[in-house]
């Protein structure tokens, strides 16, 4: 059975606002936890990438080097490197500590929507509006990508890597899963432009949100739909969706300023988290704890299951 078993105790939901970080970098295009969930990355429309602590909301480092707004970022497994992509068609590999650009990878013909490290941070995968996914080698000094996956007929909006599999969502309404081990490409037709794709934590399912205001949970191996989650509004913007750390819930941004949280198995709406009045653009779930990051306009909000005792300074101006 592909359904992950729900935990016996009532799952906790990140319904309490812990802190709000005003990132001061224009609109936050994406917010991402690092690998262990202690830090967060915010991609700003003012061309900067910022690294924060989640617990305190303090700014650790600003990475500047992009020529246009930063659209996505990812951290390596060992926290030593960051990669980010931007509208300036480049992908940049950063050194975390020094904040220097390790490598600037050019090759995409349009803005780069999404970027991911693979498990060992040996490859950066970037999906662009030019419809290609490029696999960049971080180990060699080659400037050309190892491989260009140009199967998509439209912009790649989202991309995830899990072990030997690569999941891409494209505006042409298809979710593609490249299985490196099997040497196969599985294409799932969703029909509506895909905004975000995710693997489930157990690696058995894929989650894809599309512009018909639906989030769909598909069985990875067969492509059958296991669940469809509706109620939110996602009609025009590229918004994120994700699964909770224990695969119990499906979360999605919405254009009506809420984060919708459905029970994965039942498909019922279990939480409608009011984030703000604008569009919730990005969200990221903590890899292990019940903690959620949301990005709306220029702010990043951290949500937890229960309120923290000490709310020091939620906003720093």
């Amino acid at each position: 059975m592909a359904f992950p078993q729900p935990r016996p105790q009532a799952p906790q939901l990140p319904q309490h606002l812990l802190r709000t970080i005003d990132c001061q970098q224009g609109a936050v295009r994406a917010v991402r936890f690092n690998v262990d969930g202690n830090y967060l990355l915010s991609c700003g429309s003012d061309k900067s990438l910022k690294l924060w602590t989640v617990s305190r909301g303090t700014l650790l480092k600003t990475y500047s080097g992009h020529g246009y707004e930063v659209l996505d970022a990812d951290g390596s497994y060992d926290n030593s490197q960051l990669c980010s992509c931007s509208s300036d068609k480049t992908v940049i590999l950063w050194d975390v500590a020094t904040g220097q650009v390790t490598r600037k990878l050019r090759g995409h013909a349009g803005k780069v929507n999404c970027v991911q490290f693979n498990e060992e941070a040996t490859v950066i995968l970037s999906g662009s509006i030019d419809g290609t996914v490029r696999c960049w080698d971080t180990r060699s000094r080659r400037f050309e990508p190892i491989q260009v996956l140009d199967e998509a007929r439209d912009s790649i909006s989202s991309l995830k890597v899990a072990q030997h599999e690569l999941l891409t969502g494209s505006v042409d309404g298809r979710v593609r899963r490249y299985d490196l081990r099997m040497g196969q490409l599985h294409v799932d037709f969703i029909d509506s432009p895909i905004t975000c794709v995710c693997f489930s934590q157990d690696g058995q399912c894929t989650l894809s949100s599309s512009l018909d205001s639906a989030v769909r949970l598909l069985d990875k191996s067969t492509g059958e739909m296991l669940g469809e989650y509706k109620g939110h509004k996602m009609k025009g913007y590229k918004l994120d969706c994700c699964l909770s750390s224990k695969d119990t819930h499906v979360l999605s941004c919405s254009e009506d300023g809420h984060v919708y949280c459905w029970d994965l198995v039942e498909g019922s709406l279990s939480l409608k988290l009011p984030v703000g009045k604008a569009v919730v653009q990005s969200l990221s779930f903590h890899p292990s704890e019940t903690r959620l990051l949301t990005a709306m306009e220029g702010r990043v909000q951290v949500w937890g299951s229960e309120p923290e005792e000490t709310m020091d300074d939620p906003t720093q101006t």
């Binding site: 040996t122 199967e151 007929r153 912009s155 505006v171 040497g183 037709f189 492509g223 254009e255």
Partner: protein
């Protein structure tokens, strides 16, 4: 045998000379016996075995003669490979030497029994019969023999009919002479071994007397074999006769080389039956088996008595001469003996009166002295290969390739001629009525087209129906067979001249004032002087010289050549009209000729999208929506992912590709498929296509690669749902209020203040389109996509200001029914917001404003940065939500725009600049955008001004088509 060649005299040398003895060299110590080795012909050591057999070991030493030795081959049987029954054959136990020429079982082509002589067979059969007598069951082989079919050749049959009997020689009967020579075993033996012949001798021996009046048949003679001796064996050696060896009979014949009186003969006639051999290998090289008691001639003894001691001492005459007999014998024969020779004449045959004529062999003809045995082929262009090319160009290419052909112009097949040419050949009259599509047009239209064509410097080869190429085609066709046509019609000549004049005039008008110095196309590149003349001609044309042609031609040529060249130049100058500098600067010449007509296409094509859409509608995800392809990851990628390469050794990366014909129908189908997919129908916002899409399509129709496929794709994109909408669309468009509720939610959020800022021309266009509704059916028929979704939604919103103005504009524009391009012919009016009847919506304006910067965004939009929100505080919510609306729309369009993104690039950049100001102030931004959009529209309207007629549309389509086929 060695000859001392100390003296320079020429001695005939036989054999191999010994090494000259070196005096001072110490004598080589002979290798002791136990150290001597024997090697076979492959250099392997041969070890002598055999206290018992005295033989040598063959193959695998000290084994059973197989690789495995005593270990039996393991029994292997699987489902795929059944164990085969292995019957051991004698060959399995033989060595490869046995299969060689002199082995026991040579694997060579030998004369089969069918073709061997019957006499031999006879003896063999007799021998077998004798053997059979000695067999356990007497006569069993005789039975076989009875059943065995006769196997004598036709020659033998004929001879038999003529009285020949087996055992006799062929030839005239002779009187037996008294024997001079005592029957002796010793035959002369010089050099080579005489064949063991002489069955007669044995008969002769028994013949005591010879009566005078009795003639005898000549002795049977075995022809001497003249095959040269190739082997290394000594004289007189012949290997084992496998037949003898295996059949176990006649072996003694072989052994008793020097005893022509074979024992078998004796055996045959039952004189003395010493041995009854029952098979087994026997021969010179073999010893006598244990079962054989006769081993006396293993080491055959030779005696000097067998040799001649005197040269030429024997007189001939007794016989062993056949057809190779010395001359005195042959001379002796008389002509009249021929009949005797022949024996009795078969009935139906007579003796020939005159000898058969000798065949005269004629010598081959003597080659001419300057003959070169290499044929030179003239290059021929296959017209069929230039299928995509207009016939005129093909013609031109053809004639220009073979430069100044003095020989006959290529006679073309009747299939290459067009109807007009055939008509002239047949002498028929021209048909009444229009010959060209152009003549069907109204004169003013034609004129206009002519103007357009003249003004636009597109190469005319692409518009096949245009008159220039039509005219160019005609003389081309005429030149095809001048020889055939010559003198057929003088009127055609006149006509031709007239046309030439006309063409020259045309070329002149075309080239006059053209300043392109870089002349790219060189039609006569093969012939430099001709090319130079052509360029001279072009230069003169550019200067507007009227008799440019005559001046640039070479006066040294003959009239015929000149006229031909004239024709070619004019044609070439018309065909390769100069493109305008602005246009030509955008193209570069291909570095490499692309001669392949194939394109790499993905091997696995995606299935039908419609089916999948239906499946998605029914939420039947799974098999219907899932497709799996073979995908080859890069080797390095696998390495980086710590994954074994799934396809080791395959050079393919990505999806496997196949080569396909470039212009195949299937290719086009897939192309439409490709085109169809980037713009999936969006369920968002009622899942219909907005008119913006249509406008987007038509707007850049000219630049687009293939509008047909585009149209197809648009049609394809329509799911059933949209089709439903489409059908209802005309009604919807007129009745505005009915659609209103759909987007009322969004509208309520709209701010009225926005309306003033955002007012694009496109919106106006939209309106005008709306107003020009009557021809909508036709429009739909062409574009097959419902375009009123947007308008209906926008109409639902009440905005009073624009409507009137829109009406006005629409009124002004109604004649231009086909003016689909939204930006054309509309000047932006930002401040003309006066009154409105009902339905102009702020949303629509939002849309229009968005369209200004929508071109830069593809795919799902990012939410607004809302910097204003951060700063502006309170007002932020409204503006943001409104922005949401805007962007939503823009986003929608984006996906479709996307297709045509290329040509918007310059606009985009402009927009980007504007966007930078966005953060600074909203008002400013919107204003700027208005400006920019108006600029854009102006620009577009410059591009194509005036109404677009059907003809124009058709022409564009054709243009695009011809682009494609090129």
């Amino acid at each position: 045998m060695a000859s001392d060649s100390d003296s320079d005299e020429d001695f005939v040398t036989y054999g191999t000379p010994l090494e000259p003895l070196e005096e001072d060299e110490p004598l080589k110590k002979p290798i002791p016996l136990h150290e001597q080795t024997v090697k076979d012909e492959k250099g392997r050591y041969k070890r002598f075995h055999g206290a018992f057999t005295g033989g040598f070991s063959a193959g695998y030493f000290n084994t059973v003669g197989s690789k495995e030795g005593w270990t039996p081959s393991t029994f292997v049987s699987s489902r795929q490979q059944k164990a085969e029954k292995h019957n051991a054959r004698p060959e399995d136990f033989m060595d490869e030497e046995d299969f060689s020429e002199h082995g026991i079982a040579p694997r060579e082509i030998t004369t089969s029994q069918e073709f061997s002589s019957g006499h031999r067979d006879e003896t063999r059969e007799k021998a077998r019969a004798v053997n059979a007598q000695a067999a356990l069951i007497p006569g069993d082989t005789l039975l076989e023999e009875l059943i065995a079919p006769a196997q004598s050749s036709i020659g033998v049959e004929l001879l038999r009919k003529m009285g020949w009997r087996e055992g006799q020689g062929v030839g005239p009967r002779v009187k037996r002479k008294p024997r001079r020579q005592q029957p002796d075993n010793s035959t002369k033996l010089y050099g080579c071994a005489m064949p063991p012949a002489g069955s007669e001798e044995s008969e002769d021996d028994e013949e005591e007397f010879a009566p005078e009046n009795v003639t005898f048949a000549p002795k049977d003679v075995t022809p001497v074999d003249f095959t040269p001796r190739l082997g290394l064996q000594g004289l007189g050696y012949s290997g084992l006769d496998p037949g003898l060896a295996l059949l176990g009979q006649g072996a003694s014949e072989h052994i008793n080389l020097f005893n022509p009186q074979s024992e078998t003969r004796g055996q045959l006639f039952g004189d003395k039956q010493k041995h009854t051999r029952r098979g087994g290998v026997a021969g010179q090289a073999f010893g006598v088996g244990a079962l054989e008691d006769d081993d006396e001639d293993i080491y055959h003894r030779d005696s000097m008595s067998r040799y001649d001691t005197v040269l030429g001492g024997e007189e001939p005459g007794d016989g062993l001469y056949g057809w190779t007999a010395p001359q005195q014998y042959t001379k002796r024969k008389d002509k009249n003996k021929d009949a005797l020779y022949l024996g009795k004449i078969l009935e139906g045959f007579t003796l020939a009166q005159k000898p058969a004529e000798e065949k005269t062999i004629f010598p081959p003809p003597i080659l001419p002295r300057d003959y070169r045995p290499v044929h030179h082929f003239r290059p021929v262009i296959q017209v069929s290969r230039l299928s995509g090319v207009s016939p005129a160009l093909a013609e031109a290419l053809k004639s220009s390739r073979g430069h100044m052909t003095k020989d006959e112009p290529q006679q073309e097949g009747r299939h290459q001629l067009d109807s007009g040419q055939r008509r002239t050949l047949l002498g028929e009259e021209t048909l009444q009525g229009p010959t060209s599509v152009m003549e069907l047009l109204r004169p003013e239209d034609r004129e206009r087209l002519q103007n357009i064509r003249n003004s636009s410097n597109l190469p005319p080869t692409k518009t096949t129906t245009s008159q220039t190429s039509h005219e160019a085609l005609r003389p081309a066709g005429m030149s095809a067979g001048p020889s055939a046509l010559s003198g057929v019609m003088s009127s055609s000549v006149q006509q031709q001249q007239q046309q030439q004049q006309q063409q020259q005039q045309e070329a002149l008008t075309m080239w006059r004032g053209v300043q392109t110095s870089s002349q790219t196309f060189k039609p006569f590149e093969k012939n430099p002087s001709k090319q130079a003349r052509y360029e001279l001609y072009l230069n003169r044309l550019k200067q507007g010289d009227k008799d440019a042609l005559e001046q640039s031609l070479d006066l040294g040529m003959t009239e015929w050549e000149r006229s031909r060249e004239r024709e070619e130049f004019v044609r070439a100058s018309i065909l390769y009209r100069p493109s305008s500098s602005s246009l030509s600067s955008r193209f570069t010449r291909a570095k490499h000729q692309e001669d392949e007509d194939t394109v790499e296409v993905n091997r696995d094509q995606e299935g039908d999208v419609d089916d999948k859409q239906a499946a998605v509608k029914m939420k039947m995800f799974g098999k219907l929506t899932r497709e799996t392809f073979e995908w080859h990851p890069d080797k390095l990628l696998c390495k980086r992912f710590n994954v074994p390469d799934p396809y080791p050794g395959s050079g393919v990366v990505g999806l496997p590709k196949v080569k396909r014909d470039k212009f195949s129908v299937f290719n086009f189908l897939t192309m439409t498929e490709n085109r169809a997919t980037p713009a999936p129908p969006k369920p968002a916002e009622s899942g219909k296509k907005s008119r913006w899409d249509v406008s987007g399509q038509t707007e850049d129709e000219e630049e687009k690669k293939d509008p047909l496929s585009e149209l197809l794709s648009a049609a394809r994109n329509q799911t059933t749902e949209t089709k439903l909408d489409q059908t209802s669309s005309p009604a919807v468009s007129t009745s505005v209020s009915s659609v209103q509720p759909r987007d009322s939610k969004h509208e309520s959020e709209e701010q009225p203040n926005q309306e003033k800022k955002k007012e694009g021309d496109e919106e106006a266009d939209e309106e005008e389109e709306e107003e020009s509704r009557p021809p909508m059916d036709l429009f739909k028929a062409i574009f097959a996509s419902s375009s009123d979704e947007k308008s209906s939604s926008s109409e639902g919103e009440s905005d009073e200001e624009d409507q009137k103005e829109v009406q006005e504009r629409a009124d002004a524009l109604t004649p231009n029914l086909f003016n689909i391009t939204p930006t054309s012919s509309v000047t932006s009016s930002t401040n003309t917001n006066t009154t409105s009847t009902a339905t102009m919506s702020s949303q629509q304006k939002a849309v229009t404003s968005q369209t200004s910067h929508e071109e830069e965004v593809f795919g799902p939009k990012l939410p607004p940065p809302s910097s204003a929100l951060n700063r502006g505080g309170a007002t932020s919510t409204h503006s943001s939500s409104e922005e949401v609306e805007k962007e939503k729309h823009s986003k929608k369009n984006k996906d479709k725009k996307h297709k045509n993104k290329k040509e918007h690039k310059h606009k985009k950049e402009k927009k980007k600049k504007h966007k930078k100001h966005k953060h600074k102030g909203k008002q400013k931004k919107s204003k700027k955008e208005d400006e920019s959009s108006s600029e854009d529209s102006d620009k577009d309207s410059e591009g194509e001004r005036g109404p677009v007629s059907t003809e124009e549309l058709l022409k564009r389509l054709k243009n695009v088509r011809s682009h494609q086929t090129w």
